[in-house]
C-alpha cells in the first residue's frame, strides 16, 4: 500500500521537531574477567564448566549428559545430522545441542550466537539442553564492546543468556519455558 507509505512519511516529515544531535556513545570500560562472567551467568540460571580445550569436549559431555541420546553439533559428529533444511520433526527430538559461542559478555552473562554457528536457526531453542563452547579470551565487559566487535548481525543471530525461563505465574521463577531447559557454557 504505497499510499499509506507516502502518508506516514509525509506526516512524519511535517510533524517532526527540529533536528537534535545523535550522541557519541562512550565505551565505559568495565570488568571483562571470567570470574564476573561466571558469577553473572550462574545468577541467571546458567552453568560454567572449564575444559582444557575443544578436544576434551566429548568426554566432558558424556559426563555431564549421560542420558543424552540425540545430540547435534558442528563440533563433532552428533547422533542427529542437522542442517538448515532439517525437518521440524527431526529437530523436535534433539535433546542436546552443542554449539560454538562467538563472544561472551561479562556484565550480563550472554553469549553471541550467530546463524553460522547454529546448524539450523531453531536448534538453540528447540533442543532440550544447550551447551555453548566459548574461548575465555572472547569475553568482553559490556554490550558496547560486544556490538563494537560485530561487523554485522548476519541473517539471524542471538545473544543467549541462560536457559529459557518464565516468571509469568505469580512471579515464581521457572527454568525451562519453551526453549532449552538448561544452559552449560564450556569455557576453555
Amino acid at each position: 500500500m504505497s499510499s499509506s507509505r507516502e502518508k506516514i512519511l509525509a506526516a512524519a516529515r511535517a510533524n517532526k521537531p527540529d533536528e537534535k544531535p545523535l550522541p557519541i556513545v562512550p565505551d565505559f570500560g568495565g570488568d571483562d574477567s571470567t570470574e564476573r562472567f561466571t558469577q553473572v551467568l550462574t545468577s541467571i540460571g546458567g552453568q560454567v564448566v572449564w575444559i582444557d580445550g575443544p578436544e576434551q569436549l566429548q568426554p566432558v559431555l558424556k559426563q555431564l549428559y549421560p542420558e543424552s541420546r540425540l545430540s547435534a553439533s558442528p563440533l563433532f559428529p552428533g547422533t542427529v545430522p542437522v542442517d538448515a533444511l532439517t525437518s521440524t520433526e527431526v529437530l523436535a527430538d534433539v535433546d542436546l545441542a552443542v554449539l560454538p559461542g562467538e563472544m561472551g559478555v561479562a556484565e550480563n552473562g550472554c553469549i553471541w550466537l550467530p546463524e553460522a554457528n547454529m546448524l539450523h536457526r531453531a536448534l538453540p531453542t528447540i533442543t532440550q539442553h544447550l551447551v555453548l563452547v566459548l574461548d575465555h579470551r572472547r569475553i568482553v565487559a559490556t554490550m558496547h564492546q560486544a556490538y563494537a566487535q560485530l561487523p554485522s548481525t548476519g541473517g539471524y543471530g542471538a545473544f543467549v543468556a541462560g536457559p529459557s525461563k518464565t516468571a509469568d505465574i505469580e512471579q515464581s521463577l521457572v527454568i525451562g519455558a519453551h526453549g532449552a531447559r538448561s544452559l552449560v557454557v564450556l569455557l576453555y
Partner: protein
C-alpha cells in the same frame, strides 16, 4: 466507566490488592538492585533519551533508510496507516500461504490493533505463545501489564484455567508443573504453525533488521520453525545504529524485571533460505503524537513497564482499571491521544509524585505530561463538573488570604459539629468514602504563628 469506578472493583478484594501491590514493588526493588550494579546507568538513560530524540527528529529519513536496507536483505515491507490496515495486511499474507495455524509472540502493537479477534473471525487459529499471554488468551482477558501480562492472576487462577483448558489436575497450583503443562501444550502449536507473528523491540535503520527480546524463547522457536515470519512494528521502534542497541539492551531488562539482560536478544535481519520475512510498519496515531510538542516524548517509550511497577496508583488499582492496551502512567499519557473522551479519567489516575519519571530508562517526563494532559482535558471540558467546580472554588479560596482564613475557621468548627452522615455523605464528599476526617486542631497555623511571635517579642 472511568478509572476510579473500575479500580473500585479491584480494590474491593483487599487481600488481592495488597498482594498485587507487594508483588510489583518486589519487581521495582529488583530493578533498583540491578540498576545500582551499573555505575553508568544514569549516563545510559541520558544517552538513550538523546538517541530517541534524535531519531524522532529525523524519523522520515530513518524510516526510508530502514525500508531500503530491509528490502535489500530480501524482507517484504508493508506500511499500515491504522489498525484496520495492519490487520488486513497480516490476514492477507496468511491467506496468500493458505495458512490457518499461526503462533504469535508477545506484541503490544497487535494488541493495540486487536489483531487476534480479527484473525479468529476470519477462520485463522492464532495462539499466543508467551506463557502469560497464553493464560489470559485462554481466559479471554486483556493483558494487565506490559511485561507481566498475567500479573493480576494468582496461581490458583492459573491452575483453574489450565484444569479447564489444558487438562491439568484439579487444584494444581505449582508454577513448575503448570509451566511444564503449558510447555507441552505450546510445543505442539510451535511445531504445527505455518506462520509466526512477532512484535519488535528495536528496529535498526542501519541494518534493516529487527530485534526481539524474550525470556521464554517463544519468538525464536515460533519464527524459526514457521515458513513465514511477520513482524509488526510501530514507527517509534527505530534506532539509527547497530551500536545503539548496546545502550538499549543494557537498560531494557534491568528496568523491566531487574535482570541483567533478557534470555534471548534476537536479531532478525534476513529470511532463512527458502522462507519469507515480512515487516509491517504501523503508524496508528503515532505521527499525530509526533506533532504534539508536549506529548511527543511518549514515543520514546521502550515498553519496559518500570513506571507501572513504581506507580502507587497502578499497583493498587490493577492494570485492567485503565481499560487501555498500555496501562499505568505511560498508558495514561498515550491513551488520550487515541481517544480523549473515552480515556479522560486516566491522566488523573496518578499522584504526580514523579516516581514514574525517575525510573523511566529513556527519561520521558511522564508526570509532567500527566499534568499537561489535565490542563488539556480541562480546557476541552472533559473533566467531571464536580471536579471542575470544586477546583475553581479551591483556586479562589487559595488565592485570597482573607477567604482562606475564614474558610479554615469554618472548616475547623464544621468538622467538629457537623453530623457524620453529612461529612461522609457519599455523593457530597467522595474523598471521605475510604477515609476518616482528621481531628480539627484548636487553632490554625497562622494563629499559632502569631502567638509565637507575640511571646518571643
Amino acid at each position: 466507566m472511568n478509572h476510579a469506578t473500575r479500580a473500585a472493583k479491584f480494590v474491593g478484594d483487599a487481600d488481592r490488592t495488597t498482594w498485587h501491590d507487594e508483588t510489583l514493588w518486589f519487581v521495582r526493588a529488583k530493578r533498583d538492585k540491578a540498576v545500582y550494579a551499573v555505575p553508568e546507568f544514569q549516563d545510559l538513560r541520558e544517552l538513550a533519551s538523546q538517541i530517541k530524540d534524535h531519531t524522532l527528529s529525523k524519523l522520515d529519513t530513518y524510516l526510508e533508510q530502514f525500508e531500503e536496507q530491509a528490502k535489500r536483505n530480501g524482507v517484504h515491507i508493508h506500511w499500515a496507516a491504522d489498525a484496520a490496515e495492519h490487520n488486513a495486511i497480516i490476514l492477507d499474507i496468511i491467506r496468500q500461504h493458505n495458512a490457518t495455524r499461526v503462533v504469535k509472540s508477545k506484541s503490544m502493537l497487535t494488541e493495540e490493533c486487536h489483531l487476534n479477534p480479527h484473525l479468529l473471525s476470519n477462520g485463522i487459529e492464532v495462539v499466543d505463545t508467551d506463557l502469560g499471554e497464553r493464560i489470559i488468551q485462554l481466559r479471554d482477558e486483556a493483558p494487565s501489564h506490559l511485561v507481566l501480562p498475567a500479573i493480576h492472576l494468582k496461581k490458583e487462577d492459573v491452575g483453574e484455567t489450565f484444569f479447564k483448558h489444558l487438562g491439568t489436575a484439579k487444584g494444581e497450583v505449582d508454577p513448575q508443573v503448570l509451566t511444564e503443562a503449558a510447555r507441552q501444550h505450546l510445543r505442539a502449536r510451535f511445531l504445527a504453525a505455518e506462520v509466526a507473528i512477532s512484535g519488535v523491540n528495536f528496529a535498526v535503520a542501519e541494518t534493516g533488521g529487527v530485534v526481539v527480546c524474550t525470556n521464554e524463547g517463544n519468538a525464536d522457536l515460533g519464527v524459526n520453525l514457521a515458513h513465514v515470519h511477520i513482524a509488526a512494528m510501530g514507527i517509534e521502534k527505530l534506532i539509527p545504529r547497530l551500536s545503539d542497541l548496546a545502550v538499549f539492551t543494557r537498560l531494557l531488562a534491568r528496568s523491566a524485571t531487574g535482570q541483567p539482560v533478557t534470555t534471548y536478544t534476537s536479531h532478525y535481519t534476513k529470511p532463512a533460505a527458502g522462507k519469507e520475512m515480512h515487516i509491517v510498519i504501523v503508524d496508528n496515531g503515532r505521527t499525530k503524537q509526533l506533532g504534539r510538542p508536549d506529548f511527543r516524548a511518549s514515543l520514546k517509550c521502550i515498553r519496559c513497564g518500570a513506571c507501572m511497577n513504581t506507580c502507587p496508583v497502578y499497583r493498587r488499582s490493577g492494570g485492567h482499571s485503565y481499560d487501555f492496551t498500555v496501562p499505568g502512567p505511560i498508558g495514561a499519557i498515550l491513551s488520550p491521544n487515541i481517544d480523549m473522551k473515552k480515556h479522560s479519567s486516566l491522566p488523573f489516575a496518578s499522584t504526580l509524585c514523579g516516581s514514574c519519571s525517575d525510573v523511566c530508562p529513556v527519561k520521558i517526563d511522564i508526570h509532567t505530561q500527566l499534568y499537561k494532559w489535565r490542563q488539556v482535558l480541562g480546557e476541552a471540558n472533559e473533566i467531571p463538573a464536580s471536579k471542575k467546580w470544586s477546583m475553581k472554588l479551591m483556586g479562589r479560596l487559595l488565592t485570597s488570604p482573607k477567604a482562606f482564613g475564614v474558610g479554615g475557621k469554618l472548616a475547623r468548627h464544621g468538622i467538629k459539629y457537623l453530623p457524620y452522615s453529612l461529612t461522609h455523605a457519599r455523593h457530597f464528599n467522595v474523598w471521605a468514602v475510604a477515609r476518616e476526617l482528621p481531628t480539627p486542631p484548636k487553632q490554625s497555623f497562622r494563629e499559632w504563628y502569631q502567638q509565637q511571635a507575640n511571646t518571643t517579642a
